[in-house]
């Protein structure tokens, strides 16, 4: 072994730095470390050779060698970090426009979505959701609602009747509206009442772009002291705004349903055109879109439930969920809802 000197330390360090600069991967770095700092590494050799030196020189060279060792260890780490960064910088680029791995995607039917939206709005206004039977007794669908047999108003609701199994059985039908639940609810509850009744209804009528024989309605009923048509209007205007936009206005006009008095039809101003476009598919230029029938609960109905109609008043309203959904989504054929074509449903 040649004698060790300060010059040797410097030469070993310089040589090691030069080789380090040429190390391009982790394996080369490891080889370098073994070759320089390992048990038989060049710098380790310098340290081993210290014992042969005189005391004074040994101290000086030893200190220099330790400094060199620390410096080279730091250089190794720096080189390693530089290589890591360089590798990251040149990592294969992702084509971010490729499709993602498909995740299973489910959806609620648009009628369910809109029905929930309606019920959520009314829930915020204090209307609890309750449901009633789809197969009804004649007396609840009609009689108790002041539509006796042979009343001409029955023409407003073409009805599916069920076969009777015995002549003594009461007449049963598929409810034509959710209004029977007004009666069922007030029979079992006391004012104040605020309910929203969603559910399927059935009409014995031919199907076309705007008529289905099965549809969903949401019925509203509020009974309390001092309820007025202004409350009806305010409630439904609030509904229209939350459903169709904050600037919406509502229009009431005269109508007739035997179970309310006065009875009105409620429209909302057109949100698809400025209100005067004759080509508008939504309002046809009238500026108004009919969305529901409504009115003040007929006092005879409140009295029949044992409420004092001179003390309590109420309002009721009924709307078709499909109609609201058609307006909301610009759907022109109601038959799209229950044909369940996956290509239609996948859009919601």
């Amino acid at each position: 072994m040649t004698s060790t000197s300060l010059g040797t330390v410097a030469a070993v360090e310089a040589e090691a730095r030069k080789r380090l600069a040429g190390a391009a991967d982790e394996a080369a770095l490891e080889a370098w470390r073994t070759g320089v700092l390992g048990r038989s590494g060049t710098l380790t050799g310098v340290l081993r050779g210290l014992g042969a030196l005189p005391e004074e020189e040994r101290r000086a060279v030893g200190a220099a060698a330790n400094i060199a060792k620390q410096a080279l260890e730091a250089a190794l780490e720096a080189r390693r970090e530089a290589l890591r960064r360089a590798a990251l910088a040149s990592v294969e680029a992702l084509d971010v426009t490729l499709p993602g791995r498909p995740a299973r995607r489910g959806r609620l039917h648009p009628v369910t979505q809109v029905r929930r939206e309606i019920l959520d709005i009314f829930a915020r206004l204090g209307f609890a959701t309750v449901e009633g039977p789809e197969v009804e007794l004649d007396e609840y669908n009609f009689g108790h609602l002041r539509i006796p047999e042979h009343h001409p108003a029955r023409d407003m609701w073409d009805t599916f009747w069920l076969e009777r199994e015995s002549p003594s059985d009461p007449a049963m039908l598929l409810r034509t509206h959710t209004s029977p639940m007004q009666i069922r609810y007030i029979e079992a509850h006391e004012p104040p009442i605020r309910i929203a009744v969603p559910g399927r209804c059935y009409r014995y009528e031919a199907t076309d772009a705007t008529h289905e024989w099965m549809m969903q309605q949401v019925e509203l009923l509020a009974v309390d002291e001092g309820l007025s048509m202004a409350n009806l209007k305010g409630t439904l205007q609030e509904f229209a705004r939350q459903m169709f936009g904050p600037q919406r206005r509502v229009l009431m006009r005269n109508s007739y349903f035997p179970f309310v008095e006065p009875g009105v039809e409620l429209s909302v101003d057109c949100f698809a055109c400025p209100g005067n476009d004759p080509a508008c598919a939504v309002c046809r230029g009238s500026g108004w879109i009919e969305i529901m029938g409504a009115g003040m609960v007929h006092p005879e109905i409140l009295d029949a439930a044992g409420f004092d109609s001179t003390r309590y008043t109420g309002f009721a309203a009924g709307m078709g969920v499909e109609r609201i959904a058609m307006l909301k989504y610009g759907i022109t054929d109601i038959r799209a809802f229950y044909s369940n074509d996956p290509r239609f449903l996948a859009q919601f």
Binding site: H109, A128, E134, H150, E163, A230, N254, Y256, E261
Partner: protein, 842 residues
């Protein structure tokens, strides 16, 4: 109902510059819905004018053509060629000159009139038929206008009209006629006009304008629309009717009033052109003057009338129910057997008419009729409706009777029609009439308090305005202070308002004329009612969300189906026991029973989706099934959630792979959904109709079965035309809620480390892995166990399988060593050996 504005002007003045759209809108707002506006006669005002036929000469070269010289108000008369047989000198006719847009009489299509040369004669104009004006298909003859029609007047002013298609509410019998609509319009326009007048006179406030409105409406001042009732006066030139006719009402409840009038010396023939035109405008076909008059008065006043040939009526007229065995040949020539609830008009020979529905053939008015017995009656609406429905004879008449007419109306209509018989048929009216009205009905008297009005409508309408509105509508005040103090409004309804019964009815009158736009939108002020939980609905909705969240598409299908379709998914004995609810009236043969399951509907939709080339189908429906009670009570309606998975797995590029979706795809979805609901559901092998044996699981929570999931049986698939495997599940939401714990327990997370160990067991094929997991998880030292591999074949004997479990040992109170785990595993192994014959896999 079709309402001609020309005709309407007989009863109410409409402004010359009437905005029809505005009128229709106001009528719709306040009274009855205008569903359509048809404008008749937008002819050119210069080119299509009233002409006077100065001369008619033969055409030199054509026998059937003539040369007609017409003065149309232009500088000089014009000679044109005309082929109409009914053209004659002196007539007022509709005349068009070249350039006018008309309907081609031969093709029926729009065309512009051109100068032409017809057999050598130049013709630059045309005498018009109804067809050329687009009024009807009548092309054989020209239109002859009334004598004295000013020459040169635009034909649009003479024959043009606007027809409103009005939908009348079922309770407003009074509006199902021209006069009724005129009353409404007078009230509506009167209210609006009074505002203008008040503003013009500088009178402020609603009260002043309302008073002016009322006064003006009653007097016709300020150009207020005045209502003119039709003229009912005529000369009773004949002898007294007394003794000539007798009317007996046997059922006064079914016939409150019956008025018979006798007109003699009637000549039957066509009714005048103006009457025919009006009938046509209203959608009715002219027949002869007698029938036309009855129809005309019905359209005008709303009272259906019937004319009998009085010479063919034998003895007294009776009104009674049919007797057993009676029959009647009606006007349409049909012999009708009569049920005992049929109300009849009779004479001494028996039935002569179905009251209010259709006349009999034996007493029909014919060309030879000279004496007319005119019936104007008030029949019970229910009776008329029942009979007209049973015989499928719904008509303009029955639809008016069934709304409930005022008995008073019969008297007005009887007089009005008799006047027309006298004037238009050359008849002589007998003096007086026979008026059977055993129990006269008084018009309703109703009191509306100020408090009730304010409460109900929620806005204060000034007392004077309320009074004015009610008076304008024909209500009379029973107390002189009715319109003054803020007390009650005590009124008598006008005789025609049979719908008015209670105070709230008056409130509606006030608000509909005051205008609903006056109502201020107001929030409900009262307390929110006490909340009632609805766990079933909540769970159903959460299950919907969970399934959609697990990748399923919700669908909604029809509740009706057929027993044949149900038989594909319900075992025959089960279906026989259910006996689904059957409809009495169906729209189509595929909708006859209320479904007691949703399974068929899911499979039908799977089939359609696969046919629509969906690679993978994962659908569900949340709806009710209907289980009849067969004891006359309403069926049980149970909420079910039913769904299916079919098709193949989709790869990373959204392409279908070869792997068919199977039981475990469905189970994975269900597990995800149940996990979202924090429900712990177990699967137990079972059997079920419509499913492949050995490939069905019953879903359980604890011991309660809540549903089923499995591969659909190949035969069932074939019945639905499905060619790929389908896994179907069906959950009974009511059972689910019975079994679901109100609140699932939450375990404290242990802070001590877990020991993971694997255990591979050789088991008989019949041993369910789930049963082994259940035993392992029963150990107090085991936090969880899961299956991670199943292996068959190799060195395993037939009928054996190797199942590998990964077990996580952990306790909440101390650190377990691997020794603890080994000890427990040995203990578990012994138990599994004992219970299942399990062996540790070597």
């Amino acid at each position: 109902m079709l309402v001609s504005l020309n005709w309407l002007r007989d009863y109410v003045d409409l402004p010359a510059d009437l905005d029809v759209d505005d009128l229709a809108h106001r009528l719709t707002m306040a009274s009855a819905e205008v569903e359509g506006i048809h404008r008749v006669g937008a002819w050119d005002r210069d080119l299509v004018r009233v002409g006077h036929v100065l001369a008619v000469e033969p055409h030199p070269d054509a026998d059937r053509l003539r040369l007609v010289t017409v003065d149309y108000g232009g500088e000089a008369p014009m000679r044109v060629v005309c082929g109409a047989p009914n053209v004659a000198q002196g007539q007022r006719i509709a005349f068009a000159r070249e350039g006018a847009d008309l309907i081609d009489g031969h093709t029926g299509k729009p065309s512009r009139l051109k100068r032409g040369t017809i057999r050598g004669v130049v013709s630059a104009g045309m005498v018009l038929s109804e067809m050329e004006l687009g009024l009807s298909q009548e092309h054989a003859g020209i239109i002859v206008l009334p004598e004295g029609t000013p020459i040169g007047t635009p034909v649009a002013d003479v024959l043009g009209d606007t027809i409103l298609d009005v939908h009348v509410w079922p309770n407003r019998a009074d509006t199902m006629n021209l006069v009724g609509i005129a009353r409404e319009i007078a009230a509506i326009l009167g209210g609006a006009r009074s505002q203008e007048v008040a503003a013009g006179l500088g009178i402020p406030g609603d009260i002043a304008s309302a008073i002016i409105g009322h006064v003006a409406a009653a007097t016709g001042l300020f150009g207020m629309p005045m209502l003119r009732e039709p003229d009912e006066t005529y000369v009773e030139a004949g002898p007294a009717i007394a003794g000539a006719l007798d009317v007996r009402i046997e059922n006064p409840t079914l016939c409150a009033r019956y008025i018979a009038t006798l007109i003699e010396g009637v000549r039957v023939g066509p009714s005048p052109e103006w009457m025919q035109e009006r009938l046509r405008a209203a959608g009715m076909r002219p027949i002869n003057n007698v029938v036309d008059i009855t129809n005309y008065v019905m359209l005008e006043l709303g009272q259906p009338l019937h004319a009998f040939d009085a010479d063919r009526v034998q003895g007294a007229v009776g009104v009674r129910l049919a007797r057993p065995g009676e029959a009647l040949r009606t006007l349409d020539g049909v012999d009708r057997a009569l049920t005992p609830d049929t109300l009849l008009i009779t004479d001494d020979s028996g039935p002569i008419a179905l009251a209010g529905v259709m006349g009999g053939a034996s007493t029909e008015v014919t060309e030879g009729t000279t004496r007319v017995l005119l019936e104007a009656a008030r029949f019970d609406p229910v009776s008329i409706r029942r009979t007209s429905f049973r015989l499928a004879l719904r008509s303009e008449a029955s639809s008016r009777f069934e709304r409930g007419l005022s008995p008073e109306l019969a008297a007005h209509a009887s007089r009005r029609a008799t006047k027309l018989f006298v004037e238009l048929c050359g008849g002589t009216a007998r003096q007086g009439n026979v008026d059977a009205y055993p129990a006269p009905l008084a018009p309703a008297e109703v009191t509306l308090t100020r408090a009730r009005l304010d409460t109900l409508i929620g806005v204060h309408v000034p007392t004077a305005e309320v009074a004015a509105i009610l008076r304008t509508l024909g209500f009379t005040f029973l107390e002189s202070d009715g319109g003054r103090a803020d007390g009650a409004f005590r009124v008598r309804a006008p005789w025609w308002r049979t719908d008015i019964a209670i105070p709230d009815d008056l409130a509606e009158e006030v608000v509909r004329l005051a205008g609903y736009d006056r109502l201020p939108p107001a929030a409900i002020e009262g307390a929110i009612p006490e909340w009632e939980p609805s766990p079933l609905l909540d769970l159903r909705e959460r299950l919907r969300d969970a399934l959609a969240g697990a990748g399923m598409q919700e669908i909604i299908t029809y509740s009706l189906t057929t027993n044949d379709v149900l038989a594909r998914v319900i075992a025959p004995d089960a279906l026989a026991a259910i006996r689904p609810l059957r409809l009495r009236n169906t729209l189509s043969a595929d909708r006859e029973v209320m479904r007691p399951t949703l399974r068929h509907a899911i499979l039908e939709t799977v089939e359609r989706s696969l046919r629509a080339e969906a690679d993978a189908v994962a659908i569900f429906e949340a709806a009710r099934i209907f289980l009849p009670t067969h004891d006359g009570t309403l069926p049980e309606e149970r909420e079910h959630v039913t769904g299916a998975v079919a098709g193949v797995e989709i790869d990373r590029w959204n392409r279908p792979t070869d792997r068919a979706l199977d039981f475990f795809d469905a189970k994975g979805i269900l597990d995800a959904a149940f996990a979202a609901l924090r429900l712990s559901v177990t699967y137990e092998a079972g059997t079920e109709f419509g499913f492949t044996p050995n490939r069905v699981a019953r879903l359980k929570i604890g011991a309660t079965e809540i549903g089923v999931v499995g591969e659909v049986h190949p035969d069932t698939l074939a019945a639905f035309d499905i060619e790929r495997p389908v896994v179907l599940f069906d959950i009974d939401v009511a059972r689910l809620i019975e079994a679901a714990p109100e609140r699932a327990a939450v375990r404290t997370v242990s802070r001590f480390p877990a020991v993971e160990q694997d255990l591979a067991l050789v088991l008989d094929e019949s041993v369910a892995a789930g049963a082994v997991v259940a035993i392992i998880e029963g150990s107090p030292l085991v936090a969880s166990a899961r299956v991670f591999d199943v292996f068959r074949g190799g060195r395993l004997a037939a009928g054996k399988k190797s199942v590998a479990f990964s077990i996580r040992y952990q306790t909440p109170n101390r650190t377990l060593t691997s020794e603890d785990a080994n000890k427990e595993q040995a203990r578990l192994l012994k138990r599994l050996e004992r219970e299942f014959g399990a062996e540790l896999r070597g």
